[in-house]
């Protein structure tokens, strides 16, 4: 799936994460992470971001993450929202029916 515009989701409040997703034609996936727990959870956060991008079939995106200690479920929610906004689509909730 192609991203059409830069988009943002989330805030800089505690327990949240601000995600910015930008189209990156020809550049693959590039992730920039700023987090107080980068040393412990940096790899896990990046894995979640890559997993969400893969679920949407996004192969070219630059993702900037300003983490304030968000849980995995919050990172996932913010990423889903940012990708939908960047792709200018409404989420198809029936996709959740196929999730184990």
């Amino acid at each position: 799936m192609d991203l059409k515009q830069p988009a943002m989701a989330g805030t800089l409040e505690s327990s949240d994460i601000q995600v910015t997703v930008v189209p990156n034609p020809g550049g693959g996936i590039a992730i920039e992470l700023d987090s107080p727990v980068k040393a412990q959870f940096g790899d896990a956060i990046r894995d979640t971001v890559r997993a969400v991008l893969a679920e949407f079939g996004v192969e070219e995106a630059r993702v900037q993450l300003l983490d304030q200690g968000a849980l995995d479920c919050v990172i996932r929610a913010r990423m889903q929202c940012a990708v939908c906004r960047a792709a200018q689509i409404s989420y198809d909730w029936s996709r959740e029916d196929r999730r184990p």
Partner: protein
Amino acid sequence: MTHSGLKRTSLYAGGSSPGKLLEARFYHEDCLVYDLEDSVAPAEKDAARFLVYQAVRWHRPPDKYVLIRVNGLYSPYLEEDLEMAVRARPDAIRLPKVEHAEEVRRIDARISAIEETAGIAVGQTELWCNIESALGAVNAKEIAAASPRVAALALGAEDYTASMGALRSKAGWEIFYARMQVLEACRLAGISAQDAVFSDFQDEAGLREDLTMTRGLGFDGKTVIHPRQIDLVNAAFSPTPKEIRNALRVLEALEEGERNHTGVVVVDGSMVDKPMERRARTVLAQAKAAGLWKEEG
């Protein structure tokens, strides 16, 4: 741990703030309402849906009755709210500003279709209908009976008062009639009756007075506006030690009467009739659910 079945307190958690969604799990409210409506700005409705879905579907508090309040029945957000909310599998969806039974039937049909597509048992998702206008209050009986999904009616006093051109007061006389309309509708339909919020969360004495009246009228619980109201409201809608003792005496007297083949059972000079027995059993069921009494054996 599973939900106790009590619905004494309902606390709203704003759907756009991860911090608030997390925090709300740790209070003692019986019912946690994840909100997509008033607490979420129009530009953040999509973001709130994703957050609430994650919170309810994958991380719901196991000891609470979980609800999602969707946006208004005629808002452009409702359809997608329902698509998400049903799939998140809350105990109930809370509908704002319900005024007609037909609206409930329309939502019921939509929920059934989504449940079927998603592989969820049809009928599993309950409905709480907020009664927030004079028209809603007048139609409360039909609304309560509009679908087997309707598990509670909840009075929304601020909008109701505005619809009546009345002024909101702490004494609450301007909502007394609506309280009775909602309560009567709930009792006829056999569902839970939920009272309106007491807005001044710093006025503990005022809240106590309000609770004395609404508990006495027969409500089952109340929506709270602030976590500091939870313990007071929970206590008000729980049986007192005296009520529990009385209920036990009534049931013991009935058992003794049965053993001795006594036709009429008397406790403290009053004949124990069916309504007294029913009240005693309700008190003990509530006390048990609240952890205030344990059945022997």
